[in-house]
Amino acid sequence: MRVSKRATSAIALSAAAALVASGCSSGGGDETAASADGSIVVHGVQPENPLVPSNTTETGGGKIIDWMWTGLVEYPNDGGAPRNALAESINTTDSKVFTIKIKAGTKFHDGTEVKAKNFVDAWNWAAYSPNGAQNGTFFADIAGFDQTYTTDPDGADGPKKAPTPTADKLSGLKVIDEQTFEVTLAAPTAVFPTKLGYSAFMPLPDVFFTMKPEEFGKNKPIGNGPVKFVSWEDNSLIKLTRFDDYNLRDKMKVKDVDVKLYQDDNAAYADLLANNLDFMEVVPTSALAGDKWKTDLGDRGRSTVTPSTAFIAFPIYDKRYANPKLRRAVSLAVNRQEISDKIFFGTRKPADSWANPLTPGAKPGNCTACKFDPTTAKQLLAEAGGFSGEMVFYYNADSAHKDWMDAVAQQVKTNLNINARAEGVPTFAVFRQNINAHKMTGPYRAAWQQDYPDVENWVNPLFITNGSSNDGLYSNPEVDALAKQASGAPSLEASHEAFAKAVEKVDQDVPSIPVYFYGQQSGHSEKIKKLELNNVGEIDITSVEL
């Protein structure tokens, strides 16, 4: 779950967003001389934490981790189903016990070989709660997690402290030989192999366990990916270079990558225009107005879609929003096409499905509540007994949400005659504090970007009872049962079918309303002849040719 902290950029907002990415593939390469020892400068933001994969949850550091590490599986650039990368094979008969064999002869940047125990040790470290790894809960599927990871009995604010775990190793992990290990899950989970491409599951070299994690992550992070770490000057520059012994896929074609750490997207954009910066993933919001970026960049600009969706969530714990008919009425009163055209100049697409359609297993167009139908909306509102008082739509005012939230409130006001308005909460931190404490008194902005490409990630965290991001406290036993059945299905196909049924139930209840699918506008310099973006819109560093 990575969160983007860029206050000014459009996706920052999504602050939600778990970015999963991987090195990715690229077509074959005729390496030109320019590429072979060329260097590029790409846009970045200062990573919040030292570069340890299981402790990085934001995009600034996440992007670099994705370049520096290659996991067991990887996600293709086209968003398709995951495929094996470092894994030779991942075998299971019951979706509960997985035998994972890794390819022999691949190396970490320090020259040591990547072995099965590098995975087992890294996962054990992250799952041991006193280590305080932010991605620790990603290991919850594995048997023995409840012994290594304890939670605070009265919440983090309470006086009691979490007890020390009784075990420091996951009982479900077993090294078989140098290249093979066995993972036993607590319950069958069809999607488990898909998750393995997320950065939390990366291997760590032996040297990691001999030093402090912050020392490792700050001074000499060692991965096994196509890109190797050189140096890190805080807030200014991270220097990376090609890992010449990389043999899992194509090596990087250029030699050096400088990640210039910007604090202001407009400064980066000026550099991009002057060819002083070779790649900027997301052009600033200011450049989107009136399609300015198209005029500025010409064929250096490119527009793509990313697997993230903007929602408006309902605080279902508030009695006024408990009636599904009311929630459906609000959803039907929102003209998504108009918001997409007038406010985002077509850079965002109106949402018409619950899971982002780019996600494997998602069914496009399955959100019947996403239509614009003010007549039915009025009728449903009447059936729900109307709405008394003021309906306030909340958003965090530290990034660019005011315009579209105002538009939503205005549409609800016009189409339903509800006294609606939008109100900004000063910062994302205050906003999330109220949401986490279940103290919201009106519908609020939310955004979701998948952690790993599977529809499971769009249902379990958001719509099952006690889901990790089910902040509105939506609960429907039927959805829970179907989702549980889907998660434990013996195959991914069966799992996707069952999730589709769960989503149909969600569609009846409208616990939140999908508003738009994110798009991304990127730009590159004249120097770059070829580049691909990966499944979440980050630059695929191995594809760059000069």
Partner: protein, 308 residues
Amino acid sequence: MGRYLLRRLLQLVPVFIGTTFLIYWLVWAVPGDPFAGKCGERRCPDQYIAFMTEKYHLDQNVFVQYANYMKNLLQGDFGQTFSQREISDIILTSYPNTLKLALVALAIEAIIGLGAGVLSGLRRNGFLDNLVLVSTLFLIALPVFVVGFVLQWLLGVQWGIIKPTVSSEMRWSELIVPGFVLGSASVAYIARVARTSIAENRRADYVRTAIAKGLPMRRVVGVHLLRNSLIPVVTLLGTDLGALMGGAIVTEGIFGINGIGRQVFRAIITKESATVVGIVVVLVLVYLVMNLLVDLLYAALDPRIRYE
């Protein structure tokens, strides 16, 4: 002189404690839980929050936190940020950059501001004087970020004379435009103050005497007139260094300079009291020392001023 210096230095202690506590308390009072937004649209794991709370004593009240902080600070330990980076590292990497930028701005202020002020003060109501008045009015009226964005766009993007942002090596030549932007408003003030001061002293008795006894004009202006007119200018320049360093946040942002401005801003947003105070502590020291230096300079400029 020695006693005066000692007294001034002792005064620094209460000012230092007062400002640091006020700032610590203000950052502490900023609403929002530092870990509420850190993990995106889901709660951070309880263990993570507990780990951080204990590490940074966040469950204590503000006085205990501040006392802890001061105890460490006096031992030279600035503490760590929430991402476990040494704050002293941040100060060491970002302060020199801001200082460099501020010095360039100060030099530009002194050269352009003083030059324009002297020229227009000597030829009052002439063409040059009017030009300086109009152009300084223009500079004062323009907010820093407008000057910054316009110059960056014109010189960097349109004409390609400079690179739009400063590289990580922070070469002096790259800092001229950002320095001008940062100092632009102050250039105007310096020019105006210098002009008034020169124009007034121009009519003073000692200048008339100097001219009457046949001194060459260069000597009259350079030694007698300028030296006596410098006091208000020096005051302005001296206190400006602190203001420039604290106020560089906008300029640093536009030109992508890794200075203290962005660090303070980030730390306030994430409620890292220790980082904010750490950086401001040094800033406060710069202010106090500069003020002291300015006062001492008075004596050098004007023999009538003596410190006991």
